[in-house]
């Protein structure tokens, strides 16, 4: 039926299998239910994700909230110039990238390791307990988490200092949050503590998709536990890992805002201040919305480039990819 009727009517003009725009509309028609279902979401996407791009024009104005669009003063690239000439901007950019990279690497390795370890557990009760404990911190708000962390790191009676003193590793308590160089490490560890359990969930789900017959076969062939992990579990996880990696690379300029803001102080500001805090301080706090938008645009452009390059690298390597 599919081939008969149209080809009869248009046999002269078109070949048997339609191509190009005709094919597109044909497929569209075939999938009309699907298309109709997605229309509301497209409208949503358009209104909330594309219409606001209009607001980017603010970056090129000396924006005053009360005035109409036509009454704004246009300043061209003035705000971008301020941004790129500002010494602090490069410092916060470095911090943002460093913290993102640390979080990315640590986040992936710890989550995958924990997921594999959990997967190997035979004691279901123990497995459930470990899993629950490890993802509980995820539900704590950063405000609370930050105060737990700063209490633990406190120089007077904080558990970390007490422990290290007791072990004899150090002689004097250290002001952990007061030394800038330690900040990235502290942040990385905190992020792991907070998110590792939650991040394992997706890997555990992926592992359930691996055919148990493969493990049985490997076991019969005499593969040990580590060989099974290496040759079956990890390759099975690969598509998930790659996809998540691509998505996270796109977010590399989003290190989050709360932990850095809440744990940061005058002594570690050189290492803790990231792009978002910079924008808050020089943009929103001063009512300079234009600068905030300019910085936001910069972030978007960088994320866009990173996402596309990661995706095309994955494509070239023949790995799973996003699009």
């Amino acid at each position: 039926m599919e081939t008969n009727t149209p080809s009869l009517r248009t046999a002269k003009a078109t070949p048997k299998n339609p191509t190009g725009i005709r094919l597109f509309f044909k497929r569209l028609f075939q999938q009309k239910a699907l298309v109709l279902m997605s229309v509301p979401f497209l409208i949503w996407l358009f209104i909330f994700k594309y219409v606001p791009i209009w607001g980017w024009s603010i970056a090129f104005q000396d924006f005053k909230p009360a005035k109409d669009f036509m009454d704004q003063t246009w300043v061209g690239l003035e705000h971008f110039r301020f941004l790129f000439q500002e010494e602090a901007f490069y410092r916060v950019l470095r911090n943002t990238l460093a913290m993102s990279a640390i979080n990315l690497v640590l986040g992936f390795t710890t989550a995958i390791t924990l997921a594999i370890l959990l997967n190997e557990l035979r004691q279901i009760v123990f497995k459930r307990v470990v899993q629950t404990i490890s993802y509980l911190p995820y539900f704590i708000s950063w405000v609370v988490a930050a105060s737990i962390i700063s209490t633990a790191l406190s120089a007077d009676g904080g558990i970390i200092n007490e422990l290290l003193l007791w072990l004899g590793v150090m002689k004097e308590p250290v002001l952990w949050l007061g030394v800038g160089e330690y900040f990235w490490g502290i942040l990385g560890a905190s992020e792991v503590w907070k998110n590792v359990g939650w991040n394992t969930i997706v890997y555990l789900a992926a592992m359930t998709m691996i055919d148990p017959a493969q493990y049985e076969a490997a076991e019969i062939d005499g593969a040990g536990r580590f060989q099974r992990i290496w040759n079956i579990t990890l390759p099975g996880l690969k598509p998930v890992i790659v996809i998540l990696l691509i998505m996270n690379v796109g977010n590399i300029l989003e290190t989050g805002f709360e932990p850095q803001y809440l744990l940061g102080n005058g002594m570690n500001v050189d290492y803790s201040e990231n792009l978002d805090i910079f924008v808050l301080r020089y943009g929103i706090s001063m009512g300079n919305f234009s600068l905030a938008i300019a910085a936001g645009m910069f972030k978007t452009v960088v994320s866009f480039i990173l996402l596309f390059s990661a995706n095309s690298i994955a494509k070239r390597l023949g790995e799973a990819r996003l699009f």
């Binding site: 005053k64 909230p65 009360a66 602090a88 105060s147 700063s150 406190s154 120089a155 007077d156 002001l175 949050l177 007061g178 102080n265 005058g266 002594m267 500001v269 050189d270 808050l280 301080r281 020089y282 929103i284 706090s285 001063m286 009512g287 300079n288 919305f289 600068l291």
Partner: protein, 569 residues
């Protein structure tokens, strides 16, 4: 744009349904509306309003400061009485989170609460055209005119309109505060007791006192000196050199009393001298290094822990800790040792200026926003609130219940009343809600019969609240109040300089942000450095500081201060 249409459509539908609703349940609606109109055209009379049952109205009231529970004013005793007079209730909401973010959202959406106390974000809201001009209302209402009339010129914004009713207009005589609510160098009372109540005037004497005390009590694991640095409260640390040099809290500048030139001090010799001393204190192990990482709550907890011997701060910031210590001392006299005592310390024992001169803070106050449904009704409420009877009610309460009047007409409180008025009572009665954030007589005002407006400032009440130990220590220093320990403030018409409004994103604001960043970074470095490295760190700091346009900032401030002085000539 589309959003606005949609909203106004909604507003029309809603108001239509309101009118319909009112009309159906009472036939007197038209009459009431008519009378409100008459009143608003013909000036107000409080009694007249009270006679006619006014239509009840509720307005939203946002306060850009945190610390109180959100509440309707008519759920408090004072608020209920005010509602009976005016028919107006306010739904009060307090800040949660960051002020600038919250105000920024209001500005961006152009939707405000009816009444807004924007705290430090006033300039932003004015800039965005968020407030309505209050000039006609001040003309119209007699109490508003009475309270704000003398200050009209100072209240005007750059465009000549009045957007803000400030909280700091003194009515009647200026009544000094017997307590220390401003800056002081505090020390535990037991330290003074053990040392035989010495006169402490200089920075060296002060730190020597602390050092000796800590050395004498090694078993107690004491903290010699603590400093508050958390977030915006950092000024409690960075302001110290200014006060030591004998200046009041003008913010970032020292103003020369003869030439009226403003000079910054963040990197001058005063700051260096102070930092050097703090560095020395630190190297002796007397400085709590955690000062630079602790947050405000941890700081207050430490002050209440009996372990901290001394610190510098403003009275209003340490109230929580000090009240706790005082309450404990009231129950058990031996605890009095841990209450903190304020000292007016300067570099060389010269004249101090810790007490604020009568000032006029024009960048803090309350305004009615462009979103307000019925500005006239709100201003009428403010007018009623500013009548003397109501001002007495909001600060003294109800006669026979929270205060008494003696044969000479002096207000006082009995011991039971003082005990009764604790935090929970203040909240329920409404003292807590009406003590600030509303159009009001300044705290230091006096009533027409000579009583102090604020119970805490009434000498009789102050004396009544003193414990035997309080009296002992005040006696030892030969004073009747804490403020007598301090030098009387010089007259500074521009005071406080930090209250002079700055434009959003202006070079002055950028200077301040950058300077804050620098001091937050370098003051810890300077204080915690090895004494041998101090000079090198200082030079590094000067180098960084030199990149700021300090001359421009000082010039701007000098001009502003001279303009204030000229406007008063």
């Amino acid at each position: 744009m589309a959003k606005k249409h949609w909203l106004s459509g909604l507003a029309i539908v809603m108001s239509a349904s309101l009118v319909a609703g009112c009309g159906s349940d009472s036939g007197s609606n038209n009459e009431t509306a008519g009378s409100t109109n008459n009143e608003s055209t013909g000036g107000t009379k409080t009694e007249e309003q009270a006679e006619k049952p006014l239509e009840k109205a509720t307005f939203t009231y946002f306060v850009g400061a945190s610390g109180k529970k959100d509440r309707n004013t008519n759920e408090t005793t004072i608020g209920k009485l005010l509602e009976d007079q005016t028919g107006v209730n306010f739904k009060m909401e307090y800040l949660v989170g960051d002020l600038n973010t919250k105000i920024g959202t209001m500005i961006a959406s152009n939707e405000y609460p009816d009444v807004l106390v924007p705290d430090a974000a006033i300039d932003k809201v004015i800039d965005a055209g968020g407030f309505i001009d209050l000039t006609p209302y001040i003309e119209k209402y007699e109490n508003l005119k009475f309270v704000f009339g003398p200050y009209l010129n100072q209240m005007k914004a750059a465009d000549g309109n009045i957007y803000i009713l400030p909280f700091s207009t003194v009515v009647g005589e200026y009544m000094p505060d017997p307590n220390i609510n401003q800056g002081a160098w505090w020390v535990q009372r037991r330290v003074l007791k053990e040392a035989g109540y010495p006169q402490i005037k200089t920075m060296d004497e002060y730190f020597k006192l602390i050092e000796d005390f800590v050395a004498k009590h090694p078993e107690e694991n004491l903290t010699g000196f603590l400093s508050l640095t958390h977030d915006w409260r950092f000024f409690a640390t960075s302001n110290q050199p200014m006060h030591l040099a004998g200046y009041p809290n003008d913010g970032n500048v020292l103003v020369d009393m003869n030439t009226f030139e403003a000079k910054t001090y963040a990197a001058n010799e005063d700051t260096k001298r102070w930092a050097q001393k703090m560095n020395e204190i630190n190297s002796k192990g007397l400085f709590d290094k955690s000062s630079f990482v602790d947050n405000y709550d941890q700081y207050i907890a430490k002050l209440a822990s009996h372990k901290v011997v001394g610190f510098f701060d403003y009275g209003w910031q340490i109230n929580n800790a000090q009240l706790n210590l005082k309450d404990a001392a009231k129950k058990d006299a031996t605890q009095d040792d841990f209450v903190y005592f304020p000292l007016p310390v300067t570099f060389d024992g010269g004249k101090d200026q810790y007490l604020d001169p009568p000032g006029f803070v024009k960048n803090r106050g309350v305004g009615v926003t462009v979103s307000a449904k019925d500005p006239d009704r709100i201003m009428a409420f403010f007018d009623t609130l500013l009548s003397e009877e109501n001002q007495i009610m909001r600060s003294w309460g109800i006669q026979g219940e929270t205060y008494e009047v003696d044969a000479n007409g002096r207000f006082y409180r009995t011991e039971e009343q003082i005990l009764k008025i604790d935090e929970a009572f203040r909240e329920q009665f409404g003292f807590k809600y009406f003590d600030w954030d509303w159009p009001q007589y300044n705290t230091n005002s006096t009533l027409s019969d000579g009583n102090a407006l604020s119970p805490g400032l009434q000498p009789e009440v102050f004396q009544m609240g003193l414990t035997a130990e309080d009296k002992t220590i005040l006696d030892k220093y030969g004073v009747k109040t804490y403020s007598e320990l301090f030098a009387a403030p010089d007259e500074r018409p521009w005071f406080p300089a930090w209250g002079i409004p700055k434009e959003q994103g202006s070079p002055q604001q950028i200077w301040e942000t950058k300077k804050d960043e620098l001091t937050k970074k370098y003051i810890p470095k300077l204080i915690l450095a090895e004494p041998g490295d101090f000079e090198a760190v200082w030079q590094e700091y000067l180098g960084e500081f030199g990149k700021l346009d300090t001359a421009g900032y000082e010039k701007w401030y000098t001009e502003q201060i001279k303009a204030v002085i000229d406007s008063l000539k």
